[in-house]
């Protein structure tokens, strides 16, 4: 039996996140991911070094970017002999890449690698209509000029309109915001509670920037040196003045307590613990365990509450309870997602009926929640959010002291959720 292997978070690097259409409007996923990898390479002296693997992904992805991560590696300072893989699980992508590498490292298939994610809502792929696509493909198959012309003659002006991607669930036709609006209503999450959470997110992120917390987590890109969505001066009053954008006129979800479309990339460097020590790399935190879960939103389940299920299973497997963590990172897709998730854990009825638990899972100390801000303030470039959270949490845990534990919870489209436990080395 070999000595047990343990994957540790060495550190991370991300670009500042900015609102879609802003400073990164001309930057592609490839540009952003390459920049984030280069900043990581510089921080840890990886230029010219061959790593075992880089796992990365994007949610809004051009078909030409089938090998996005590998191409980013080739454009980066890393050795071109570093292999790469693209993964995708909607907003869970970033955390899944970290789990993927953790598993490989734990199994001895790798010593060191990078988990990464990127999304550019500015550079989203625009596709042609299905009818135009079918007509062109038919013309392409035609062997004679007349049949080719006949195939093309099927094209109508309306078919020429480009189709922009939407954050819509294919099986329900509802946007994520509309789904969440239903969840918000069902769980009775108030506008005030949502705005409070959004305010805390901005205040925490602003404080983290002011204290230099991100000095070794973020590298500027295209002249941007701080997260562009952060509003350090926002207030209850300003948030309360915003009009609802989801849930109709009586809705409680606004642009202030929902995440904006964002551009950015994030990376996390992982290594086998002994390898990291031998190679002069920091060891911030171990990944203890991870879990993925899904709900059936097509049958009416809350679309974004799958993490509630994943956490329940993860805690059961680890023999831990919800209160066993120094820090909690619940991704703020919407303020009400975080609040509904916590409400679900506090609800004995939900925990019994939906999670199969004997009683409520419990509540979490709000002072330990998203202490350095989360997606409402930082923004949410879908696949990059996991990397942002993991690197920041690992640093926070390490500063807190050896053994400190943190829980990461990320909801994803398709009724999915991915969660993980980190523990400071």
């Amino acid at each position: 039996m070999n000595a047990p292997r343990s994957a540790v978070i060495v550190g991370g690097n991300r670009t500042p996140f900015v609102k879609a259409g802003g400073a990164y409007a001309e930057a592609s996923n490839l540009d952003l991911l390459t920049a984030a990898l280069d900043g990581l390479a510089a921080r840890f002296g990886l230029a010219g070094r061959q790593l075992d693997e880089v796992a990365g992904g994007a949610v809004l992805k051009h078909s030409a970017d089938f090998n996005l991560t590998r191409e980013a590696v080739l454009g980066s300072a890393l050795a071109p002999t570093t292999p790469a893989v693209d993964l995708q699980q909607a907003c869970g992508t970033g955390l899944e890449t970290v789990i993927y590498l953790h598993n490989k490292i734990s199994l001895g298939q790798a010593e060191v690698g990078i988990g990464a994610g990127v999304d550019s809502a500015s550079d989203a792929p625009i596709v042609v209509t299905n009818r135009l696509r079918r007509a062109i493909l038919a013309a392409n198959r035609a062997k004679t000029v007349p049949t080719r012309l006949a195939a093309l003659s099927a094209i109508r002006p309306a078919h020429l309109m480009p189709v922009a991607p939407q954050v819509v669930e294919p099986r329900t036709g509802l946007s994520m915001g509309e789904h969440q609006a239903a969840t918000t209503k069902r769980w009775g999450i108030t506008r005030q509670a949502q705005d409070e959470l959004a305010l805390a997110s901005h205040q925490h992120l602003a404080a983290a920037w002011a204290s230099g917390f991100f000095d070794d987590l973020v590298t500027g890109y295209l002249g941007v040196t701080r997260d562009g969505l952060l509003r350090a001066d926002t207030s209850r009053e300003k948030l309360a003045a915003l009009k609802p954008v989801f849930g109709g006129v009586d809705g409680t979800m606004t642009a202030g307590n929902s995440t904006a479309l964002t551009d950015g990339a994030a990376t996390v460097l992982l290594a086998e613990e002994g390898w990291a020590s031998a190679n002069g790399l920091p060891r911030l935190a171990r990944i203890v365990d991870a879990q993925v879960a899904a709900v059936d939103h097509t049958a009416g389940d809350d679309l974004l509450l799958a993490p509630a299920h994943a956490v329940a299973r993860l805690l059961a497997r680890q023999g831990m309870s919800l209160g066993d963590f120094e820090f909690y990172e619940l991704h703020e897709a919407f303020a009400s997602t975080v609040l509904a998730t916590m409400a679900a854990w506090e609800s004995a009825a939900y925990c019994r009926e939906s999670l199969g638990l004997p009683d409520a899972l419990g509540s979490i100390d709000r002072d330990r929640l998203n202490v350095n801000g989360s997606s409402l303030a930082a923004g949410h470039p879908f696949a990059a959010t996991g990397g942002r959270i993991v690197a920041s949490l690992a640093k926070q845990l390490h500063a807190h002291g050896s053994g400190a534990r943190g829980l990461v919870s990320i909801c994803a489209a398709g009724g999915q959720g991915v969660v993980a436990i980190l523990e400071a080395v």
Partner: protein, 450 residues
């Protein structure tokens, strides 16, 4: 407008006019680890063999210098690459004639970017000897202004007990293109307890930390240190991280995004070194390059402008030195190097730069005080004082004013960031153990502050 004027000035017709006005095209200076192309001549005025011994140690073949002792000065058969005059032991005013006699034929035959190097005693006794010692400085400064086509002259005062091994790195630096923009200067070299041989890549397996490394002179300092074999830790403010990362990846070091005015900046630098390179790792050289300007006439300078410049340019390095010198893992090694950036503004004063001049003159004071304090640990402390260097910062000066700054030195041009970096590289060289407490101007013998 400034750019158009500049383009016109440097165009063909523009240069013809400039030539008529007595503004010749600047000489392209010899740079890098390149010796003079012509022969090297050496002479000793009173029998000291230090000059010829040091040349021999460097493997530089040298012939006897010609001496002017008749009506017509003798002519060298070929353009002279360099003249080394060992003027140690000079105590009497008539002995200065020997220097004149050696310089006259050499100056006449000097190749472009040629070198004159004069060695003299640092410690002398007697009134006449003191007068002679200072007279050498006057001669050196004057010859600097008379030499043409990028040739330079410099004067090295040698402390008692200094051997060829102690002097070798200085002589090598002065002969080579590395000293291209150092002209008309004098500084002192002394004996060192232990000195390394002069090598092509003297910083191999050594860690060099450079603050303000993201761009300009700092980037060039890091680049030269890496060229000389160093593992570089490039430090700059988080906002400069993008350029910092690109440079670091190019040089193969590690980047540290850090505001050096943070109270724990020194501790964080040491922590990064210990973390990346092991608890036993020590910094060979700390280059305090980061600096800012907040120019205003004193009457318009408020407390904030004053404090920001003094804090970044001076107070921060004082604090960092305390942490780096306390023996912690990742701190400065014994036999290490501390280098700061002074400025001709600090030496001469500069209109609109009271805060900057304060900080840069303060650097000079710091270097002089810290050098003897750290001598016992073999740590040297030195500074460079750049004159007009072509950087993004100086490119913002209006063209006419900039052209004046450029031209008002003996080499008739601005220096390049690499000239500052090479001089710092000379301080960083393990072979420069005998060079401490010195402030070397890299200014092409600028009229300002002379």
């Amino acid at each position: 407008m400034a750019t158009m004027l500049e383009q016109l000035f440097y165009s063909g017709p523009g240069q013809a006019v400039a030539g008529k006005l007595g503004l010749p095209e600047p000489e392209t200076l010899r740079r890098g680890r390149v010796n003079p192309s012509g022969p090297v001549a050496v002479t000793s005025l009173t029998g000291s063999s230090l000059g010829s011994d040091t040349l021999a140690l460097l493997g530089v073949a040298a012939s006897a210098a010609l001496v002017d002792d008749g009506d017509e000065p003798p002519a060298y058969p070929a353009r002279l690459g360099a003249l080394v005059v060992d003027a140690r032991g000079l105590t009497l005013l008539p002995q200065l004639e020997g220097l004149r006699a050696a310089l006259r034929p050499a100056v006449k035959s000097m190749e472009p970017s040629g070198r004159i190097i004069v060695l003299a005693d640092d410690e002398v006794s007697g009134l006449e000897a003191h007068a002679v010692r200072q007279a050498l400085d006057g001669i050196n400064r004057t010859v600097g202004k008379e030499l043409r086509r990028g040739a330079t002259t410099n004067l090295i005062y040698v402390r008692p007990g200094t051997g060829a091994t102690d002097l070798a790195s200085t002589l090598s630096f002065l002969l080579q293109g590395r000293s291209a923009f150092v002209d008309g200067q004098s500084w002192t070299v002394g004996p060192a307890a232990a000195t390394s041989a002069v090598r092509e890549r003297p910083l191999t397996d050594r860690i060099v930390v450079v603050t303000g490394a993201a761009r300009g002179i700092g980037a060039q300092i890091a680049t030269v240190a890496a060229r000389d074999g160093a593992t570089v830790v490039c430090v700059d403010v988080p906002a400069g991280g993008e350029a910092l990362a690109a440079l670091t990846n190019q040089l193969g070091g590690t980047a540290l995004q850090l505001d050096i005015t943070a109270a724990d900046a020194g501790e964080r630098i040491a922590a990064q070194v210990a973390s990346r390179y092991g608890d036993d790792a020590r910094i060979h050289a700390m280059v305090h390059n980061a600096g800012i300007t907040r120019d205003k006439l004193l009457v318009n300078t408020d407390a904030a402008r004053w404090a920001a410049v003094v804090e970044v340019n001076l107070a921060a390095q004082l604090r960092m030195n305390v942490a780096l010198l306390d023996g912690r893992p990742g701190g400065l090694a014994d036999d290490g190097r501390l280098v700061s950036i002074a400025s001709t503004s600090g030496i001469a004063g500069n209109r609109g730069q009271a805060n900057y001049a304060a900080s840069k003159a303060g650097v000079v004071g710091l270097v002089r005080a810290l050098a003897p304090e750290l001598a016992g640990r073999g740590i040297t402390v030195n500074a460079v004082a750049p004159g007009f260097i072509e950087t993004e910062m100086t490119a913002k000066i209006p063209f006419v004013q900039r052209e004046v700054f450029r031209r008002t030195n003996s080499l008739g041009q601005g220096g390049n960031p690499i000239d500052v970096a090479e001089t710092i590289g000379y301080f960083l060289d393990p072979a420069s153990a005998g060079v401490t407490g010195q402030v070397v101007r890299v200014c092409g013998q600028n009229l300002v502050g002379a």
